[in-house]
């Protein structure tokens, strides 16, 4: 049996957050008699990951996803519990572990803002003590698959979010890590940029056998990429099974938004429920088990002049509510 590459048992992290009353006197009183609120960011979370897995770790904002990743990479110390990543205790062996893992925190930049990405790549090649010839080969490979050859000499501050994110991910892959922690890598990106990043993540997992630990609150990331999904909510694990099972049981709907030329009053489609309606704009919740998006679009095209179409996944909160409902 293959050994687990990540082992997490009864992991717990609590934060003490200082409470402040508004106004001048509130500020004064918080200095002399501070009041703290204890927040349980992660509570008794246990799971394991096998080499080569592509695991999604999902949940709404503030669920504890990033805190868990930061404990697994050694940035945060757990309040209690056990973590082992590649045989290392992350908080005790942070530096040794750093040679073998890569991380991308979607909302935080690691590239040097005023310099072109190439400067950061050269710096990282030294920081990770890479053989310079192998580094050049690796960089060429990554530049090709991420299509960033035109961006290497442009200062990071001049790149778009999608371009920057591709360059950020390349920075985390230069040292050929065994595990990549991707924390919201597609946050804020448009559909095309998201698709590109998803394709490359999939490629790295399938071709290079890199273990990928992905957090996201975008159900689309998970549906497209992950073999297994863990759902976390308010610090507690609520689902740990195959993504197929998650999709089958809990991601049953899609929201289709249609902007029509004519009025929306005459729109009647049996397989979907209208959840929002303005004069020319409709949002239809579609149960994908009962009706297909294709059928809905055929109906719309045949009967109306369509200006625009958008398709959304259900909100993460809805998926979690469905999981809770079934557990009850």
């Amino acid at each position: 049996m293959e050994e687990n590459i990540i082992e997490v048992k009864n992991l717990k992290k609590t934060f003490k957050i200082k409470q402040k009353n508004p106004g001048f006197f509130g500020g004064i009183s918080s200095v002399f008699s501070p009041v703290y609120k204890t927040v349980n960011a992660v509570e008794n979370v246990s799971f394991s990951v096998k080499p080569g897995e592509l695991l999604a770790f999902i949940g709404p904002n503030g669920a504890g996803k990033s805190t868990t990743i930061k404990m697994m990479t050694g940035i945060l110390y757990p309040t209690s519990g056990f973590i082992q990543v590649l045989g290392f205790n992350p908080s005790r062996n942070r530096q040794q572990l750093a040679y073998h893992i890569g991380s991308v925190f979607g909302q935080k930049p690691q590239l040097w803002f005023h310099l072109p990405p190439m400067n950061t790549y050269n710096l990282f090649s030294r920081i990770y003590e890479l053989d310079q010839k192998k580094f050049q080969e690796r960089l060429k490979f990554l530049v090709d698959i991420f299509e960033i050859s035109d961006l290497l000499k442009i200062p990071v501050r001049k790149l778009s979010l999608g371009q920057r994110m591709r360059c950020e991910i390349v920075a985390s892959l230069l040292h050929q890590p065994k595990i990549i922690f991707l924390d919201e890598p597609t946050i804020g990106l448009d559909v095309i940029a998201k698709r590109h990043i998803r394709e490359v993540i999939k490629y790295l997992n399938e071709e290079e056998k890199v273990t990928i630990f992905l957090t996201s609150h975008d159900a689309g990331d998970i549906e497209t990429l992950a073999q297994r999904t863990i759902v976390i909510n308010q610090g507690t694990m609520v689902f740990n099974d195959t993504t197929e099972k998650l999709k089958k049981n809990y991601i049953k709907t899609k929201i289709v938004e249609l902007v029509l030329e004519g009025k929306t009053d005459d729109f009647h489609f049996a397989g979907g429920k209208i959840v929002e309606k303005t004069k020319y704009d409709l949002k239809i919740e579609l149960n994908t088990e009962k009706a297909s998006i294709e059928k809905l679009l055929n109906y719309a095209v045949e009967n109306f002049d369509i200006q625009d179409i958008n398709i959304f996944d259900p909100e993460m909160e809805e998926i979690i509510a469905a999981i809770y409902q079934e557990q009850k």
Binding site: K70, T73, K108, T120, L123, Y128, Q176
Partner: protein, 278 residues
């Protein structure tokens, strides 16, 4: 196949290159905006001009050519060196660490295969060197035009520079120490304020300690602030071997004290880090 070089003989060399590259990237990023970069040096020139007017009037009023062993040109050259070095340490490291903690970027900077303290030491060095080249160039020209040349000794230049290097390291440790406080408290500006004002008063940045009354000079010389950039610049403009020995001893004592303190505070603080913004 791992890309990381594993030969133990070669790894020490790579570790050196790692920190050298960190210094290099900081050097280049600091010089990105020329106007911003030069503004620090222009401030040094402006201060030197003000000090020249001030000390000429002071010495004339006292009707003295030399006070505390220093002439007006010596005072101005000494102040130019101390001001150039002090200004070259800007932006303060503590502010950068505070920003790292507030923005959450510390999640990256703490999580790499290097010593976090050495990463900042060499990073600061890169910024410091780039600032210093421009500060000293303009400062030298300003002092030369305003008060003319002074005679320097090789001993003063070499041993004074050595004290300045140790002084830079001491400033780094104190600044880092203040930065590490941001692992616990939300705003470190009060600590920064106290440190920079103490440097102004006791660090010989405005008034050389040689001009202090004896009792106050004796106290000020024992404080770490005078051992940052005053002691070295004082010896460059007027070398005294006994004074060098005294300053070196005080500097070493503070260096050891702050080195131990930083090590202790970092080992405690790292367990206390919380990364803002998820």
């Amino acid at each position: 196949m791992s890309m990381v070089v594993t030969s133990p003989d070669f790894r020490w060399g790579l570790k050196f290159f790692k920190y050298l590259e960190i210094a290099k990237v900081n050097y280049f990023t600091n010089t990105t905006y020329l106007a911003n970069f030069l503004s620090k040096s222009i401030m040094v020139v402006l201060r030197i001009w003000i000090f020249t007017q001030l000390y000429r009037v002071t010495y004339a009023t006292a009707n003295e050519n030399e006070i505390g062993g220093l002439t007006v040109p010596m005072v101005i050259w000494g102040l130019m060196i101390a001001q150039s070095l002090n200004t070259a340490t800007r932006p303060q490291l503590s502010k950068l660490i505070d920003e790292e903690v507030k923005s959450g970027v510390i999640a990256y900077s703490i999580n790499r295969p290097y010593s976090y303290i050495l990463f900042h030491y060499f990073g600061s060095m890169g910024r410091f060197v780039s600032n210093l080249i421009s500060n000293l160039t303009l400062g030298f020209l300003a002092a030369f035009i305003l008060v003319g040349p002074i005679s320097l000794s090789w001993n003063g230049l070499l041993l004074g520079s050595l004290l300045l290097f140790f002084g830079y390291t001491l400033d780094f440790l104190i600044d880092l120490m203040i930065g590490l406080i941001s692992f616990w408290v939300e705003d470190i500006s009060a600590f920064n304020w106290i440190y920079s004002k103490s440097q102004l008063i006791f660090g010989g940045l405005i008034l050389p300690l040689s001009l202090f009354p004896d009792y106050l000079r004796n106290i000020a010389e024992l404080l770490p602030f005078s051992q940052l950039f005053y002691s070295g610049s004082r010896l460059i403009v007027n070398f005294d071997f006994q004074l060098f020995q005294k300053y070196l001893l005080i500097q070493m004592a503070w260096l050891v004290f702050f080195w131990l303190l930083v090590g202790y505070v970092f080992s405690k603080g790292i367990k206390h880090v919380s990364v803002n913004g998820g």
